[in-house]
Subunit: 142 residues, 3 copies
């Protein structure tokens, strides 16, 4: 086919979605990682917090967006009486976003008053983790 | 460079693969998640099934493609005598694709007659999980 | 809008980054997977090594890039006295890249002389895992 025709065909195909392009990126730093916490295991909670800290140290806190999502048996990490409560507060102060799953809270009869301050809530932690990946975030499960 | 020349150069570069584009997306819903089950732990099996259900509830079952891949020590989730057999059948009825790893079956001398009905088989579960991600699926390991 | 104008607009938008494109891919095979080892559990180490081998067998070793990253409690997999030392050496011989986290080594007072030969080092294993994903690699956590 002639060059101009090829050009038109390729661009039209691109515009029509026939050529694969990635999902839209959310704004913010190029480095983005969502960290899953789904174990009732303080060792994993500490590892998740260490991981967040190491990423910030290595890349510079302003160059990376980090989100920790706790759900299922991992929800207890974010309760007010959590053994890692102080470390969660440090992570929040350092700019890490910390997210709790409301489905898990409802299923285990936990209310927001029992949770650490400064965290945010999503309806389904698992959907949050899925959608972050589809927006270009890396995934980490300590 | 002149505008038309720029257009040609850009499209030619794209067509030649010089500009990065994502891997081809498989058809289907925009939300796609592959859930790995590789632990011999019924708690994890239930969590995987809960996760699938929550994603369907939150997004609408027709708006999300979900595939559970069991391999290694996780294969037992899909045996006919699995303690979560009824829940696997419910997931299948709800449109979740459930996949077993034939490498694991061969290595552990398990045959299809010993497996739940309605599931599908791949040669290597780990390759399935890898390729789904490279086709734009999110990854979840409960 | 006229067809030529549309073409120009679409290509200019693409070139300007207004249309989403994926992160630049690293060179090498189309199939790429980074395998995380972060548990002090020889069962997981063997599963990671089995996974690497199965991927190579299924796709052909030359058609896939595989990197195993050990960090945190998983670092012991790569010590000279590791119970899977022989299998790590086989993986290295088969072309698998094996990576240790220097942050973990410093925190646990492990030096390179205590590690297996042939492996490589990164400052932060977790950053390596994150960045590989953002370069288009699939992620696997056995």
């Amino acid at each position: 086919m002639k060059r101009r025709t090829f050009v038109h065909a390729a661009v039209a195909a691109l515009a029509a979605g026939a050529l694969p392009v990635a999902h839209a990126q959310s704004p913010g730093p190029a480095n983005k990682v969502v960290i899953q916490v789904s174990d009732a295991d303080p060792g994993k909670w500490n590892l998740a917090l260490n991981n967040a800290k190491n990423v910030q140290t290595d890349l510079g806190a302003s160059n990376v967006a980090i989100e920790i999502v706790a759900y299922g048996p991992g929800l207890s990490m974010l309760k007010a009486d959590s053994v890692v409560g102080n470390r969660v507060r440090e992570a929040l102060d350092a700019g890490v976003k910390v997210v709790a799953c409301e489905n898990t809270m409802r299923n285990t009869k936990v209310v927001k008053d029992e949770m650490l301050g400064g965290i945010v809530y999503v309806q389904a932690g698992v959907v949050e983790i899925m959608q972050k990946q589809q927006q270009g975030w890396a995934y980490l499960r300590p």
